[in-house]
Symmetry: C2
Subunit: 207 residues, 2 copies
């Protein structure tokens, strides 16, 4: 990818993150870079192709993260493996903040993202099941409870930046998301699970 082509995407992400996707025009992106709109159009024929490229990049980074994912879902690992995903969300936060609008405008992105969501929820459910099996979590208190909990975790994480932005918290960090997520799990930890949890929290503080 040529230097200019790369710079365009970077500037686009920067501006989208700051002002929201609908509020940034191709002119704005060109202006930010000090190049002409015609030049930008040479690299990306339309606004849609810019976001398609960004989406592609998100998919690639995501694939790397999930490719490195270990099946050993100890609590320390969950925290550690969680981190790069949260960083990805923060880096391309506009995509998640303006997701509904982007999905309305680009049905193909919508379709792919929906599939990814189901994958995510299934993954969370998998980690929970593993934790039950390894004795860190109690069996679910009633049928369907842990599937619902997995969906809840997904909602919390994927809308975390939205709620922060809407509440006017500019910090942009995921500390609260992590704490909230663990608070949901806390009541279901076994004695063994609690011990692992305490150790994991200590490891987190030290890092």
């Amino acid at each position: 990818m040529s230097s200019t082509k790369q710079k365009i995407v970077d500037a686009a992400v920067r501006l989208f993150n700051e002002h929201g996707w609908v509020n940034v025009s191709v002119r704005d992106i060109a202006k930010e870079l000090g190049i002409s709109p015609g030049n930008l159009t040479y690299h990306y024929p339309n606004k849609g192709s810019v976001i398609q490229t960004i989406h592609q990049r998100i998919i690639e980074k995501r694939a790397m993260i999930f490719g490195n994912l270990s099946l050993d879902a100890s609590i320390v690992n969950v925290n550690q493996q969680f981190q790069p995903l949260l960083e990805l969300y923060a880096e391309y936060r506009f995509f998640f903040l303006d997701l509904l609008e982007i999905m309305r405008a680009f049905p193909d992105i919508a379709k792919m993202h929906r599939e990814h969501i189901e994958f995510l929820i299934t993954s969370v459910k998998g980690v929970i099941d593993y934790s039950v099996h390894s004795g860190n979590l109690h069996p679910e208190p009633k049928e369907g409870y842990y599937l619902n909990l997995s969906e809840t975790v997904w909602i919390l994480v994927s809308f975390w930046l939205n709620q922060q932005t809407i509440r006017g918290r500019a910090e942009l960090n995921y500390e609260g998301a992590r704490e909230t997520m663990w608070n949901l799990v806390l009541p279901h930890l076994t004695e063994k699970g609690k011990q692992n949890y305490e150790e994991a929290m200590l490891a987190l503080k030290e890092s």
Copy 2:
């Protein structure tokens, strides 16, 4: 309010709900009603004044709901009193789906809505505290846990339609939100609380 003035707001809400706020122009609203754009402008000088009016209406309905709120936070009551709020969210769903964009465009709405959010979270916390006091809930397992739970409940409820829409579930119902909310509370119920809970769920099914 004159008939036309009323009809304009109704049509606006209908179109906003269907296509999203940014994708509906004043022309679209006029067309939907079969009136001229000039006529619409006579009643609402600009697009902003339409949404300001809608926001005002939301505030009024909300005030009515919270005015009727009983402090007796029995589980049956929580379910019953919850209902009109969820219906309000569904009726003006575009406002909550496109909230970030609306808040970006209208700082005064943003300010008022932020204050309301803090009020909501405090209310949830109040109900939880009451339930602890009345013996339905165990005391919080650690400092700050129930405040965090209150925030979690708020996130779940206020982003419920977002997640449904993004996942492509068109149903638009809040059954799942209610169930998910109770699932969060479930692990903290006392024996007395569990009994009340079972009764409340039975009452819900019968209604």
